[in-house]
């Protein structure tokens, strides 16, 4: 491209002629137009980050790091500490994973290893349909089915049997961290099942056959050979699910109890980052409140980026390994 000075004019004329020639066929125009549409995506993403950053400036400057350690969220007094929300988001997501991962992995093992292919495909289709159910519907069933069930059956039982642990010491309102975790777990299941199943199906057949040939049972082949072989794919499904759980808004908001307190008990009402944004954003009248909520959005954004990135690295690692040993 760097034409010498002497030939600059000629070079430019030639370049223009070439451009006109390409424009005649329309290729350059089509290329440019498509590239411009593609460029909208990075522009939008960068704009998203800068908007979050700039519009949270007020809260960032006023509170600095104490925003993350403060436990008082009082919009009237202008006091904003995000710790209860961060805690609520992290604890609901982790408990949800504790429930969803064993269940999802079990289902994935059954679908990949046990079920005949046609049944497996049909069941996987049904499970993937579950992923299409809007989160507000999970919230709706959460409020009217799960909350009464937790209040009248599950939580009294937990308090009676495990009540000596601070985790299950009550109070028993039905709404709370545990209920939110259960709803989240159900919402995460389809992701864990379908990605783990893919990872298990990608394990070469000889691995299974070798394990069976040396006399292991089906279960031993699965648990000692197939699952360890597919572990990166499985772990990436867990990270993807975690990223989704952190950002989930409606279903959590409807059942978590919306109380900005850190409590040792899983049965107590809590609050999550996404929920407080959903509940207070339209009511935030002063700039500091709004900017604190936007800073929470920024925190949520960064958290999900980290876990999505980890999941992506895992996938990358799996494909690399796959090509190294075909």
């Amino acid at each position: 491209m760097a034409a010498p000075t002497a030939g600059l004019a000629g070079g430019a004329a030639g370049w223009v002629r070439a451009l006109i020639g390409r424009l005649k066929t329309g290729d350059a125009a089509a290329h440019t137009a498509a590239a411009m549409f593609a460029a909208i995506i990075p522009v939008a993403t960068v704009l998203l980050v800068t908007e979050l950053w700039n519009r949270s400036a007020l809260a960032r400057h006023k509170f600095g790091f104490s925003f993350f350690t403060g436990q008082v969220w009082d919009p009237i007094a202008g006091q904003f500490g995000a710790l209860p929300f961060i805690y609520g988001t992290v604890i609901t997501s982790l408990v949800a994973l504790l429930i969803a991962v064993p269940l999802g992995l079990g289902a994935a093992i059954f679908l990949a290893e046990m079920a005949p292919p046609r049944i497996s495909d049909a069941l996987t289709f049904v499970i993937e349909l579950l992923a299409a159910v809007p989160s507000v519907i999970f919230g709706l069933l959460g409020i009217f089915v799960l909350v009464p069930f937790m209040r009248e059956v599950a939580q009294p039982f937990l308090m009676k049997t495990l009540g000596y642990l601070p985790l299950f010491s009550g109070p028993n309102y039905g709404v709370g961290v545990l209920t939110a975790s259960v709803v989240l777990a159900i919402m995460l299941l389809p992701f864990i099942v379908s990605i783990s199943r893919e990872a298990l199906l990608a394990v070469p057949r000889d691995q299974r056959e070798a394990a069976l040939a040396v006399g292991s049972t089906r279960w031993e082949a699965v648990s000692k050979v197939v699952v360890p072989y597919a572990r990166l794919g499985i772990i990436s499904s867990v990270f993807l699910a975690l990223a989704r759980a952190l950002g989930e808004t409606m279903a959590v908001t409807m059942v978590i109890g919306n109380n900005p307190k850190i409590s040792a008990s899983l049965l107590a009402p809590g609050y999550s980052i996404a929920s407080v944004i959903a509940n207070e954003f339209t009511e935030a009248t002063d700039d500091l409140h709004l900017s604190a909520l936007i800073e929470l959005g920024l925190v949520l954004f960064l958290l999900t980026i980290v876990f999505n990135g980890l999941a992506r690295l895992m996938v990358l690692a799996t494909t690399r390994r796959g090509t190294a040993h075909p």
Partner: protein, 278 residues
């Protein structure tokens, strides 16, 4: 040996149980909504406005039209951007820029919907100084772009190169090849992906809460706050009125029915093998 066989039997049984549990959740949701929503659903639901608190009856006609309006904006703004971006990634492009675009697409795809809501609020609501259907549509568009771009790229890449070469060998220019050969060949898959994407954002509530907001009346044009089915399900479900809960069930049933219909149509009818026919 007996012990090992027992463990084998029990554990495999447990995995079957896990599957049963997971699959039954969908049927439970479906059954529950059909039961409660079906009882609350009536012709009025589709034709009437919400009634004031305390007056029973009424419907959610405005929310149904509102959701339609929001999806129309999504299809007009978000889908073309995603589609052409996907064409670019698959058919044009060099090395660094497409990588960058793909990376950013993944980033955008992972952003929680509530954060997209904040973004659309800053982008549209703040300058306009009021909630509007347009702001909600922009929020949903931003959500649908990564889905559309990914599925377009994926299905265009699945079109065999021999088709492209054949068209080019006959003297067609590159864009003509793309427009008349490559895109039609990948169309079924792209359509499937787009329908699934639009269906996914159709059920989103969080990004609409402070963009499209809500409205108890008709909202003319695109410049007014607009009711939508998902937001109505939310407000009616958390409200303390018995009658509103019934309406929430009905709205939930309509929403779920739309969603499942779109999903099943996209996966079973339009693309039986989940891949484009070349």
């Amino acid at each position: 040996m007996i012990w090992r066989k027992l463990v084998n039997f029990v554990m495999l049984g447990v995995t079957a149980l896990c599957t049963l549990l997971t699959v039954s959740v969908l049927f439970f949701i479906l059954g529950y909504l059909l039961f409660h929503g079906g009882r609350a659903l009536s012709w009025d639901f589709f034709t009437k406005l919400p009634t004031p608190v305390g007056e029973s009856g009424g419907g959610m006609a405005n929310a149904i039209v509102g959701t339609g309006k929001l999806l129309l904006i999504t299809v007009l703004i978000g889908v073309p951007i995603g589609f052409l971006g996907g064409v670019y990634l698959s058919e044009f492009g060099g090395k660094t820029f497409p990588f960058f675009v793909r990376y950013m697409t993944d980033l955008l795809n992972g952003v929680p919907s509530i954060v997209i809501g904040i973004f659309a609020y800053a982008l549209v609501v703040m300058p306009m100084k009021h909630f509007s259907a347009l702001a909600g549509g922009v929020a949903l568009s931003i959500m649908v772009i990564p889905i559309t771009i990914r599925s377009t790229e994926q299905f265009l890449r699945a079109v065999p190169d021999s088709l492209r070469e054949g068209a080019l060998a006959l003297g067609a220019s590159q864009w003509k090849t793309i427009a008349t050969v490559v895109i039609p060949a990948g169309m079924r898959g792209i359509l499937t992906g787009t329908i699934l994407g639009v269906a996914r954002v159709a059920g989103e509530t969080a990004p609409l809460l402070f963009t499209a907001f809500s409205n108890r009346y008709w909202s003319p044009g695109l410049n007014q706050p607009t009711a939508s089915l998902p937001v109505m399900v939310y407000t009616y479900a958390v409200a303390p009125y018995e009658d509103w809960h019934r309406q929430a069930w009905a709205a939930g049933l309509v929403l779920l029915a739309l969603m499942l219909a779109a999903n099943i149509a996209a996966r079973v009818v339009i693309s039986p093998k989940g891949a484009p026919s070349a």
